[in-house]
């Protein structure tokens, strides 16, 4: 009796989530899978066409492959860049200096503004052909680059926007670094390990769970990036920044190919799943948990 009451209360508390999950997450998730086997839009009624969307995507859609490749490149440029930088700065800030709070605030500020339209506008101006970045480079006698117009550079320029927001990951690394017992590092020093060896043998292994968490979240974020390509480059030049999220949006809401866009979104989902699963699977080999690790 008592126990059942308890259960009823618990369900009452989580009821909002149960409803929300079923209606706004699970239903759309399944529906989009079903849509992916159909041809339909707001104006057209739904017609089942089996695997035709997928076949078309993989055999005839050149833009699809270009976008897929650009997205993978973008993830590979942006995510490690951001994490390495975040860790490096967190290490420095952890050295018990003065003004830490001041620097931490300054470094965090870009993350607050992150993917806003205002920042996209800013980036477009700073990196335009005659923009501030090129003016700055001219002072060092570096020739002007066409940051957003050169197909080889545009993706890197967008990656820089992600790295600029390293503050969010840095804060997490800082919190994790605080938990590294200083006795361990001192013991290593006493045993004759230098700074660098202490870092690689003591600090880094203890940080791996945080790195793991960051890696997964940042990867997912990068895979679904939409604002930067849509607002800064419109996917150009030559589709070199036509990232996946933008392609799905255009197919669904511009070209009214909702079935096809659903199929594409499922490929994105599978891609994220594969990358995440790979990270999870590999994690026992490189993440270290003090309690021996319960996966």
């Amino acid at each position: 009796m008592k126990k059942n009451d308890h259960q009823a209360v618990a369900y009452l508390f989580i009821m909002p989530w149960i409803i929300g999950f079923l209606v706004f997450q699970l239903y759309p998730f399944i529906a989009s899978l079903i849509y992916s086997f159909t041809d339909f839009s707001l104006l057209k009624s739904m017609k089942f066409i089996g695997l035709r969307n997928y076949i078309q995507m993989f055999t005839r859609d050149r833009v699809f492959f270009k976008s897929l490749w650009a997205t993978i490149k973008y993830v590979i440029i942006a995510v490690p860049g951001k994490l390495v930088f975040a860790l490096l700065i967190a290490m420095i800030l952890n050295m018990k200096l003065r003004w830490i709070n001041f620097f931490r605030t300054i470094y965090y500020l870009p993350s607050i503004l992150g993917g806003s339209v205002a920042i996209s506008i800013l980036w477009k101006f700073l990196f335009s052909k005659t923009g501030t970045v090129n003016t700055l480079l001219a002072h060092f006698y570096i020739p002007a680059q066409d940051w957003l117009g050169n197909p080889n550079l545009a993706l890197v320029t967008m990656g820089l926007l992600v790295v600029w927001q390293f503050g969010s990951s840095m804060v997490l690394f800082l919190a994790a670094l605080k938990n590294v017992p200083s006795e361990l590092c001192e013991a290593a020093r006493v045993d004759g390990a230098g700074r660098i060896r202490t870092f690689f043998n003591i600090t880094l292994p203890l940080l791996t769970p945080t790195i793991f968490f960051n890696l997964i979240m940042q990867m997912i974020n990068a895979f679904k990036e939409f604002n930067a390509p849509f607002l800064i480059t419109k996917g150009g030049p030559l589709n070199s920044t036509y990232l996946y999220g933008m392609m799905v949006y255009e197919n669904a809401f511009l070209h009214s190919k909702m079935g096809y866009a659903s199929a594409q979104s499922w490929i994105l989902f599978l891609l994220i799943l594969i990358f995440t699963a790979f990270t999870f699977k590999s994690s026992p080999y490189w993440t270290f948990y003090e309690d021996g690790g319960e996966y």
């Binding site: 308890h6 259960q7 618990a10 369900y11 009452l12 508390f13 989580i14 909002p16 989530w17 929300g20 209606v23 706004f24 997450q25 239903y27 759309p28 989009s32 849509y35 420095i92 800030l93 200096l97 003004w99 620097f103 931490r104 605030t105 300054i106 470094y107 965090y108 500020l109 607050i112 503004l113 993917g115 806003s116 339209v117 205002a118 506008i121 800013l122 101006f125 700073l126 501030t132 003016t135 002072h139 503050g167 969010s168 990951s169 804060v171 997490l172 919190a175 895979f223 679904k224 939409f226 604002n227 849509f230 607002l231 999220g245 799905v248 669904a252 659903s262 979104s265 994105l268 989902f269």
Partner: protein, 278 residues
């Protein structure tokens, strides 16, 4: 002596990075006072010829509506969403963190799994659903899902936080005659303050900056939030003065920054103790 020199170098490096981080933002503020020519050519943050009208002219907007409309629209869209997110997420997190019930493990796994579900996958059926319900071109697609705790990130964050609150406090409250609800209000809620403030900041900033969802759900200019209004300004101002677009972009960044500075103390506490991303 050697230590001192190393320290100086470290500070110089930190300051240099700080300048790189903050310069673009300051540049934007200064660009809102510059002429078109100077926006593109000059590195200096101080304009040689100051244009004072960027803010007043920019505020008038390019069409029928001023930025007063866009600003208040954004608040109408964001504030209820943030409030409902925090309330519903706290209730759900409390349920997960303090009760045992059948199916808990599976449900918790689903909360985590939905964290990884990209928006792109569910956005088309959601659009169709909201279309059927007649919610398009209203703020309901933002507000109603928030009331049902669909921003799983916050549930996860609050569960982690509540788990760190000693259960003995709950016990003590129970002995004093508090039911589950009383415990939540009297014990958990006050102790969760840092985490709740973090939730408010994150959700406010994310909803404030959100562009994709308004782009899909909001079609009439009258209901545009800031993000759509700025994008419109970006598209139509090819011939007009850029300082106005810059001025409005600066204004759009003010509320998130203000909130961040006001709540910074709680925020750092909240993030540090839950140990999750920002």
């Amino acid at each position: 002596m050697k230590r001192k020199r190393r320290l100086t170098i470290t500070y110089m490096m930190l300051s240099l990075i700080g300048i790189v981080m903050i310069y673009p933002l300051l540049w934007m503020v200064s660009a809102s006072f510059k002429t078109n020519r100077e926006i593109f050519s000059s590195l200096s943050l101080i304009p040689t010829e100051i244009l004072w009208n960027g803010y007043s002219k920019g505020w008038q907007g390019s069409g029928q509506y001023t930025f007063a409309t866009y600003f208040s629209n954004t608040f109408y869209m964001v504030l209820p969403t943030v409030l409902l997110t925090v309330v519903s997420s706290l209730l759900v997190a409390y349920g997960f963190a303090r009760f045992r019930f059948r199916g808990k493990n599976i449900m918790f796994t689903l909360v985590i799994a939905s964290l990884m579900l990209p928006t792109e996958v569910i956005i088309i059926p959601r659009y169709m659903l909201f279309n059927k319900l007649g919610w398009l071109n209203t703020y309901l697609p933002f507000i109603i899902p928030a009331a049902f705790a669909t921003y799983s990130f916050f549930i996860f964050m609050l569960i982690q936080f509540i788990r760190g609150i000693p259960r003995e406090l709950d016990e003590a409250a129970r002995i004093d005659g508090c039911g589950p609800w009383g415990t939540l209000i009297n014990i958990i809620l006050p102790l969760c303050k840092p985490a709740l403030v973090s939730c408010v900041i994150f959700q406010f900033v994310w909803r404030w900056n959100d562009f994709l969802n308004p782009l899909i759900y909001i079609s009439s200019v009258k209901k545009y939030p800031m993000s759509l209004a700025l994008r419109m300004a970006l598209d139509v101002t090819d011939t007009i003065n850029w300082n106005q677009t810059m001025a409005m972009s600066v204004l759009a960044m003010v509320p998130p920054i203000l909130l961040f500075f006001l709540c910074q103390k709680y925020f750092v506490e909240g993030v540090a103790s839950t140990g999750i991303k920002g």
